[in-house]
């Protein structure tokens, strides 16, 4: 180097000089300026023949000019601004809006929703045209209709079209009318409510059962009823929203533990008990996780809880009725029926109705939750029709027909998972009515979702806030009515839609998780 570094011209200036000289076809001036370009830039832009400018032929000169211009000029983007905005953002970008007017500050989020809707990448708020079965006809939220193999409904044993279930609904309608007309603490329950509590108690082997108007209310209510400000909540990072919200609402002492990690629970319990021997600890997990299709080791988890005087609450919303011996779900599969401190569930997945419950072996806990759970006492009871439907569902679930329906369901699940895996896709978790098909990137998922809409498969794409960012997926919910061939046909259509979305976005990212 001839000049001291400091006194040399910046590369910017030199490249500008080179480009100007190239315009005049002044190769000598180009070479002179190139000799001054920093070592940094020469070693970086190795595709530019810096030392050969003096002898460039016309076509290489053209290439050099093109390459230098590309390095030097900012890109001029021609993009579909709407689509870019729709694909780029996540719901959490709008979680803390600016401004003191609570109403107007929702506008920004709305603008994004509108962009998502205009670009048909808004997967929410679709509506049904008729009873959903293994096939359904739906309308999306901008009024476009489609029909397809339906993995978009949660009705694992296909009870919605079951004659006995419909008959039970009709009979309850005749006997009691559509309305429960009061809180279960007042006069909202009927005789069949008691029957339902008993039937559920037998199913989960915990006879002290309380009904709630929704599964959400059951989860939230159980936590709000039990946990006080100074208590602790240890909750699986991916547990359902009703439980996360319950944790937030009750105490600031919340620890989210690594998904399924019982060792982590043990460590946290030791840690909490070292500091606090006086207050309660509620450990909270799902049974079958609703977008991951996996479940914790409940045997160890319950033991660890007992060792530290912590109470375990397990949400069996998805597995109860649809899996396990006699429909006992993950609890039955792990032989812990009757052994879990508190079991809660929702009727909305397998039992063909709104509603939820909390069950334990303790009559005291039951009365306490009824009083302090909030969503039990201060909300109207399940309607008679709902109660009758759930009661009938719980009977079928425990019968031989229940076993038959679960085996059909399992056959369809296996066919779907095998076929999807055969296309090189990643099905997360274990065989269960939920088949989470990992996509990952939100853009890819939103485009795949748009493409799939018209191709004869109905599937719900989940992204943040349901899943963590960057791990969006199709959550396929299988039903006993699905034929294995339907499942296989759907798998092909889904695989093609994902492949086409990848081409559309020109993306090379694959489907392995880590």
């Amino acid at each position: 180097m001839s000049l001291p570094e400091l006194d040399q011209r910046d590369d910017d200036e030199l490249i500008e000089t080179i480009l100007a000289a190239a315009g005049r076809r002044d190769l000598v001036a180009m070479a002179v300026a190139a000799a001054e370009v920093s070592e940094m830039t020469r070693n970086w832009a190795t595709h530019i023949p810096w030392d050969e400018f003096g002898s460039l032929d016309e076509s290489t000169l053209g290439e050099v000019v093109a390459d230098l211009t590309q390095m030097w000029e900012p890109v001029d983007l021609q993009v579909d601004a709407d689509e870019e905005y729709a694909l780029d953002k996540n719901a959490y970008d709008f979680y803390r809006p600016a401004g003191r007017n609570l109403m107007t500050r929702t506008e920004e989020f709305y603008g994004w929703v509108e962009a998502r809707r205009r670009t048909e990448t808004w997967q929410y708020s679709r509506t049904l045209e008729a009873a959903p079965s293994s096939v359904a006809q739906i309308t999306n939220d901008i009024g476009r209709r489609t029909r397809g193999i339906n993995f978009n409904s949660q009705d694992y044993l296909s009870f919605n079209t079951h004659p006995a279930i419909r008959e039970a609904a009709t009979k309850a309608m005749r006997d009691y009318g559509p309305h429960s007309a009061g809180s279960p603490m007042v006069l909202g329950n009927t005789r069949i409510s008691d029957e339902l509590e008993a039937s559920l108690g037998e199913l989960v082997r915990a006879d002290q059962v309380t009904l709630f108007p929704t599964g959400w209310a059951a989860g939230f209510g159980a936590m709000a009823g039990l946990v006080r400000q100074e208590d602790h909540v240890l909750i699986d990072r991916l547990a359902h929203s009703c439980l996360q919200q319950g944790a937030r609402a009750t105490t600031r002492n919340v620890v989210r533990y690594e998904h399924l990690n019982v060792d982590a629970v043990r460590r946290h319990l030791v840690d909490i008990r070292r500091r606090d021997s006086r207050n309660g600890i509620l450990v909270v997990t799902d049974g079958l996780f609703s977008v991951d299709a996996d479940w914790p080791d409940l045997v160890t988890l319950q033991r660890v809880c007992r060792e530290h005087d912590a109470t375990l609450l397990v949400d069996v919303a998805h597995d109860l009725g649809s899996m396990g011996p006699g429909g006992t779900g993950v609890l039955g599969m792990q032989h812990v029926l009757g052994d879990i401190d508190i079991v809660m569930g929702a009727f909305s997945k397998t039992f063909c109705s709104n509603g939820g419950f909390v069950a334990s072996a303790s009559p005291a806990l039951k009365q306490y939750l009824k009083m302090f759970g909030g969503s039990h006492m201060f909300s109207n009871a399940l309607s008679p029709v709902q109660t009758a439907v759930v009661l009938e569902a719980s009977k079928i679930i425990r019968s031989a027909e229940g076993d038959f329906l679960r085996s059909r369901l399992h056959t369809a699940v296996t066919a779907l998972r095998e076929e999807l895996t055969g296309y090189g896709l990643t099905c997360m978790g274990e065989p269960s009515p939920i088949v989470p098909l990992l996509i990952g990137n939100e853009k890819l998922a939103r485009i795949a979702n748009r493409l799939l809409f018209d191709r004869g498969v109905l599937a719900f794409m989940v992204e943040f806030p349901v899943t963590p960012t960057g791990s969006s997926r199709f959550r396929l919910q299988v039903q006993a009515n699905h034929e294995p061939d339907e499942a296989r046909a759907a798998a092909k259509i889904i695989a093609d839609a994902i492949a086409d979305a990848r081409t559309y976005l020109s993306s090379a990212f694959g489907s392995t998780e880590r």
Partner: protein
């Protein structure tokens, strides 16, 4: 039987490391680079703790730290909201177990290492490990038989044309990869929006650990580096670069003054610039195919990203361990080349990789921080564990998905110890946001 098991083109972060690791496994390796060493290459050369941990795993860190300052704490200041943290040990260990199956050699300090220092150490290490290293050797052509790459033709330091053959040719030849160009490889996931970056080296002050400042659409950083100097860097959206370039030294100072008046003042009054100002806006992000018959890419050649999270070198190291491990299993006869490359590809093109890629590309657009993002920074204040996790996430030690997860964000919010009251940026946020859209250099 070709003379070499592997020929590596490029002898810097990706190439020298890959060559060294393969040679240490006992393979016959030729590493070539058109540069001579020691020499610089465009980079602001900040290594996050997993980057320095790689060097430590390879027993090279002591040599680096003998001449390079290192720290563990780093301060981010976003629109006046300061967060100081470091990458925690447990997350670093989890990272190494997850990516490489063992967590040996983890260190928590980061360092800013001039490339003429670092790359020289890497080149020497490759050579010491038994690789044959030829510098001043420019590859001019790939030798292709059928559809198979079987070797290279190039010009050595004496200007002689030479031909060498190997079982695999590894393109570690950077963003403008010669291998990729000669094979006509496409680019995927292109993200043209990126930053312009201008930086130089200053003596005359010592601010301790590194600082990263952001305000509106501009950012600046200072990190202590070799020769008792500081690397001082400013960056902003590439759309503003034309105006910035009209007066590079003046605008560099103007940007510093705007983003961090304190840092601007220090540089103006105490800083003595030791070199010219370097800059580039050639940073759009892309992926290339990773491997094909007889060839594989590693480092910037396979995926380049904007500098805004200072991760390219660390990723090149990570790629080197991954590819050397995969190729080692193939060369030893344990697995087929296809299987080896599928495992490499699985890791490099995974969901987590995609999420981080998106994180960087979105940051690189340099849009002003949104209200909710700034409020999150306020909520993080005083919550050291989560600040540290944020730092680890930003540096791609912990997966993006674990931080940016609904229950975590809500919980962070609930655990907030501070309010936005003390931060002027919130006073008239819409007006501030509008002001931020104005090109400071226009």
């Amino acid at each position: 039987m070709p003379r070499y098991d592997a020929i590596v083109i490029g002898a810097r972060c990706a190439g020298a490391s890959t060559g060294m690791l393969l040679a240490r496994q006992g393979y016959r390796v030729l590493v070539v680079d058109r540069s001579s060493f020691p020499s610089d290459v465009i980079s602001t050369h900040f290594l996050w703790p997993h980057g320095t941990s790689y060097l430590n795993r390879w027993s090279l860190l002591d040599q680096v730290l003998a001449v390079t300052p290192a720290h563990t704490e780093v301060t981010f200041v976003n629109d006046g909201i300061p967060l100081t943290g470091s990458v925690p040990d447990d997350l670093l260990r989890a990272y190494f177990r997850d990516w490489h199956g063992d967590d040996s050699g983890v260190v928590r300090s980061y360092a800013s290492i001039r490339r003429h220092v670092l790359d020289q150490i890497l080149v020497e290490a490759a050579s010491k490990a038994g690789a044959e290293v030829r510098t001043n050797f420019a590859v001019r052509e790939l030798i292709i038989e059928g559809d198979q790459v079987v070797g290279v033709r190039g010009r050595d330091s004496d200007g002689q044309l030479v031909e060498e053959r190997a079982r695999i040719v590894i393109g570690a030849d950077g963003r403008n990869s010669f291998v990729a160009r000669s094979l006509g490889l496409p680019k995927f996931d292109e993200r043209p929006r990126c930053t312009f970056a201008y930086w130089s080296y200053y003596s005359g002050f010592d601010l301790g650990p590194a600082q990263l400042h952001r305000r509106g659409r501009l950012a600046c950083a200072v990190a202590p580096t070799n020769h008792d100097q500081n690397m001082v860097l400013v960056w902003g959206p590439s759309e503003w670069s034309r105006e910035f370039r009209r007066d590079v030294p003046g605008n560099l100072q103007r940007a510093l003054d705007f983003v961090s008046p304190d840092l601007g003042e220090v540089v103006r009054t105490q800083g003595v610039r030791a070199e010219r100002i370097y800059g580039t806006l050639d940073q759009s992000a892309f992926l290339r195919p990773l491997a094909g018959p007889g060839w594989v890419l590693v480092g910037d050649a396979e995926s380049a990203k904007d500098q805004c999270t200072a991760i390219g070198m660390t990723h090149a190291f990570r790629g080197a361990e991954l590819v050397a491990d995969a190729l080692g299993r193939w060369l030893s006869g344990d697995v087929s080349l296809n299987e080896a490359m599928a495992s490499y590809e699985g890791r490099r093109r995974s969901q987590n990789a995609a999420a981080y890629y998106d994180y960087v590309c979105t940051l690189a657009e340099m849009r002003p921080y949104r209200h909710d993002e700034l409020q999150l920074f306020v909520a993080l204040r005083g919550n050291q564990q989560e600040i540290d996790r944020f730092v680890a996430t930003h540096a791609d030690v912990a997966p993006v998905s674990e931080f940016f997860q609904a229950s975590n964000l809500l919980l962070l919010n609930d655990a907030a110890k501070e309010t936005s009251a003390g931060y002027p940026v919130f006073e008239d946020f819409p007006a501030t946001a509008r002001m931020y859209q104005q090109n400071l250099f226009a």
